[in-house]
């Protein structure tokens, strides 16, 4: 009898929650409940952080020497690239000024809100995290979320003091992106085993291992892009094609570890 009533109550809750809008009474109750629980979650996360960092430190020792050598080589290349980029950026500014060029909204048009990750949903079914800032901090639905300068996901639900972020690795996530080197356009979606893939890139386009992939943005007035152009997403780890598939098969790796996010930045306008 009791179990039947509770099961029916759960079904009723689920049904009403599924149908009502984001401003409905159940969403409001959840908003209040989440606000009450937030301090406890923040506290627990703070207590656990040193232990997690300690584990990460030991974990990082494995292969640290090889990583150090690789990073030194990368740094040398990056320094060279930075000099070239500075020249190109100056040239770009001069040309834009000369042409009175009107651009899409860029990163400079957004305000960053830095916040902490306080909870995570069951990773088997969704790749979503809860952050400790909500509408009171100016966060809105569909705002882009970054970590260490790279895109990690999108805000999909907002309460007063918390927000739900759907990560790029979630099955429902899709972001228009392009290869910075060649401009080849595609869609970043979740790939095999929690990885990322750049889909819908025609076979004639040039994308190779090592290419940097960033958000493409969109200037279409009726369908404006959720994200500004040029937020880095990741690097291409493999690109191949077959005779039977119409598009390339491109795997990319995110610039940050999406399974271990601590602090994130939400871009608000």
């Amino acid at each position: 009898m009791v179990v039947g009533v509770l099961a029916l109550l759960s079904l009723a809750l689920l049904s009403v929650y599924f149908r009502e809008s984001d401003n409905g009474p159940l969403h409001g109750a959840q908003d209040a409940g989440a606000t009450v629980m937030r301090p406890f979650q923040v506290g627990a996360e703070r207590v656990a952080r040193p232990f997690r960092d300690l584990y990460g430190w030991f974990d990082g020792l494995v292969g640290a020497k090889e990583e150090n050598e690789r990073l030194r080589a990368e740094l040398a290349r990056a320094n060279q690239q930075a000099i070239e980029n500075q020249n190109a950026a100056q040239e770009n500014r001069d040309l834009r000024e000369a042409l009175d060029y009107q651009d899409l909204p860029g990163l400079k048009d957004y305000r960053p809100v830095n916040t902490r990750v306080v909870a995570q949903q069951s990773p088997q079914f969704s790749k979503q995290i809860v952050i400790a800032a909500g509408s009171n901090a100016g966060i809105k639905k569909h705002a882009p979320v970054l970590s260490a300068g790279a895109l990690v996901g999108e805000v999909t639900k907002v309460t007063a003091d918390t927000a739900l972020v759907t990560l790029l690795t979630d099955e429902s996530s899709a972001v228009t992106a392009y290869s910075i080197r060649t401009g080849a356009l595609g869609i970043v979606e979740s790939g095999e085993g929690g990885s990322l893939a750049l889909d819908n890139v025609p076979k004639e386009k040039d994308v190779t291992r090592g290419d940097l992939v960033a958000t493409a943005g969109s200037g279409v007035e009726r369908l404006p892009s959720l994200f500004p152009r040029g937020i880095p997403i990741g690097t291409v780890t493999s690109a191949s094609q077959t005779d039977t598939e119409p598009f390339k098969q491109i795997q990319i790796v995110s610039m940050v570890d999406l399974s271990n996010l601590d602090v994130v930045t939400v871009l608000v306008r």
């Binding site: 689920l14 929650y17 629980m37 979650q41 627990a44 069951s122 088997q124 079914f125 918390t162």
Partner: protein, 172 residues
């Protein structure tokens, strides 16, 4: 009775906070431990089906609230799980020392299947292969690792089951 209920609510609350903030971020070989499910198994085995169902409902509701998931989704699954384990604890599993381990192993598998079915019915894109093949076995093993410490702690807080105390009195 009231004190026991308050203790159970406190245990569930702490388990939800730990699960959402800490435990759910641990991923080993594709599996994630489910502290809340293991805690529910302990409460249900120690206090029976009605307590199990009620604790499952409360745990699910708190979890959905804390993780901003759809309200009622986890409650439905945990209510049924709590009731079923409670019935097992009251009947077949009552004097079996392996009851916690067996319950955790079976309920982890059934919970994953139930959750997968519910997500499919609700139209969520889910990778069934990952849930049932990649994550299930490591998940079961991690939950089994948690079983004895969590069961011992919950039994220490809630005390022995009422039926066990009655049997001691009858024998004495």
């Amino acid at each position: 009775m009231t004190v026991d209920a308050l203790k159970a609510v406190a245990i569930v609350f702490v388990a939800v906070v730990l699960q959402t903030s800490i435990v759910s971020t641990i991923e080993i070989r594709g599996g994630t431990p489910d502290l809340l499910l293991v805690t529910l198994v302990a409460i249900s085995l120690l206090r029976g089906a009605i307590w199990g169902a009620a604790a499952g409902f409360a745990a699910g509701l708190l979890l959905d609230t804390a993780s901003l998931a759809r309200l009622g989704e986890t409650s439905l699954l945990l209510t049924v799980a709590g009731y079923w384990i409670g019935r097992y604890g009251e009947t077949t599993g009552r004097d079996r020392s392996h009851a916690p381990l067996l319950s955790v192993a079976v309920v982890t598998v059934l919970y994953a299947i139930g959750a997968l079915a519910l997500h499919v019915v609700l139209g969520d894109p889910v990778d069934a292969g990952r849930v049932l093949v990649g994550a299930l076995i490591p998940g079961v093993l991690l939950n089994l690792l948690l079983t004895f410490p969590v069961y011992a702690l919950v039994r220490r807080i809630l005390g022995r089951p009422e039926w066990a105390a009655q049997e001691v009195r009858l024998l004495g």
